[in-house]
């Protein structure tokens, strides 16, 4: 039985999943915080996979996979090695419970995630997680996204750092937050749905979304574009507040110096994705 600790809850909510435990209707703000929850994959008997796209993550990949196995022993873990030149593949190969797909050439983040989604689609998975290999995402936050897929009939759940003003959460540099806020406002305006963290790479896709994005996934600036494509494909998107860590090793692919160039490119990519007929 899940150990539920009620802190505060959203407006008028009644969670069917816990209907045997609790049913809440209130106009006050709530949030359900749950500890030691029974693994969702066992509860719902769903086939779940965590896709970890990696490129030269030898310093962090083992810890990322170990954390996932520790928190979710019943879900499959797939590392998509995007033609790393370091020992990432060797490290993953030494972990018997982790699946490894190695791309013969570097596909970029979009191609690597799509490869994972193709694997999930071909192997009939119900839910696919996108999870960073650099240690930024927390394995213990999986259930929040899973619950959101189930409760809100969402097709894609995005882990957001910015839903609440939590100062303890890692929120990246000021310049980056400024950029993310701009993209969030732009996407919110275009799709008419509040999005707070459009660049978050911590996402869960249900079967319908897996089918859509295994066939068509943007390559250049995938995270924000995926939201636009999802909207155009009539998929439901929702965000869940998650905590993230600062990356322990390596550097982000977007340096502060490149941020202005990146801002322009991503803005154009978002607008193009929105106005494109065939997405």
């Amino acid at each position: 039985m899940p150990n539920l600790l009620i802190k505060f809850v959203g407006n008028e909510m009644s969670r069917n999943k816990y209907s045997n435990i609790i049913s809440i209707t209130s106009k006050k703000r709530f949030e359900i915080k749950y500890d030691n929850i029974v693994n969702y994959s066992i509860v719902k008997n769903k086939k779940i996979i965590a896709i970890i796209p990696t490129y030269n993550e030898e310093l962090s990949i083992k810890k990322t996979c170990t954390d996932l196995i520790k928190h979710h022993p019943n879900i499959d873990i797939l590392v998509v090695n995007d033609s790393s030149t370091d020992n990432t593949a060797k490290i993953v190969e030494s972990m018997s419970s982790v699946k490894l797909i190695t791309s013969p050439i570097n596909l970029g983040i979009g191609g690597a995630v799509q490869l994972g989604l193709k694997f999930a689609y071909k192997n009939n998975y119900d839910v696919a997680f996108q999870f960073d290999g650099d240690g930024q995402h927390r394995a213990n936050e999986f259930d929040k996204l899973l619950n959101r897929l189930e409760d809100d009939a969402s097709d894609i759940a995005i882990g957001s750092r910015f839903m609440f003003n939590d100062k303890t959460n890692f929120r990246s540099s000021f310049l980056r937050r400024l950029g993310i806020n701009f993209f969030a406002m732009l996407i919110t305006f275009l799709i008419r749905k509040k999005i707070t963290d459009p660049t978050s790479g911590f996402r869960a896709f249900n079967k319908k979304a897996i089918a859509v994005f295994s066939k068509n996934y943007p390559f250049d600036f995938p995270e924000p574009e995926v939201i636009i494509i999802a909207k155009k494909k009539k998929l439901n998107i929702s965000e869940v507040f998650v905590k993230m860590n600062e990356r322990e090793f390596g550097v982000s692919s977007i340096s502060p110096l490149k941020s202005v160039k990146y801002m322009f490119k991503v803005t154009m990519a978002i607008l193009l994705a929105f106005f494109r007929e065939n997405v």
Binding site: T102, S103, P104, I105, G111, F219
Partner: protein, 120 residues
């Protein structure tokens, strides 16, 4: 235009035409590209070698100075070609990514079968 410049232009245009023809005959460029390049280089050769033909360009573009009209048309042609090639490059990139993904998935399955066979 001096006679030397005139000869130089004709030789240059002829070299370009022959170079593309050679590439086309050796099948180093696709049929459609060969047609486009051969036609345009042949037209270029005509314009530089037949003096009166440039007047046709002047009437067509409304530009009064012949070299500018000629240069303008060349730039326009190159822009169109560039757009065409960008489109084709993207299409090839998409195919390459798809093919790479398929290879990676097949490779995964082959490794899985090999491991199974080894275990048995």
């Amino acid at each position: 235009m001096t006679q030397r410049a005139y000869v130089f232009l004709i030789i240059t245009a002829l070299i370009i035409f022959l170079y593309i023809l050679r590439k086309a005959l050796k099948k180093e460029i696709s049929e459609i590209d060969a047609i486009i390049w051969l036609t345009s280089s042949f037209l270029g050769l005509i314009f530089v070698s037949v003096p009166g033909s440039i007047n046709f360009l002047l009437n067509l573009t409304g530009v009064k100075y012949a070299p500018i009209a000629f240069l303008g048309l060349i730039i326009l042609f190159l822009i169109i070609q560039n757009i065409r090639l960008t489109t084709r490059l993207y299409s090839i990139q998409k195919k390459q990514i798809k093919l790479t993904q398929e290879i990676a998935l097949i490779d995964f399955n082959v490794n899985k079968i090999s491991k199974k066979a080894e275990d048995e």
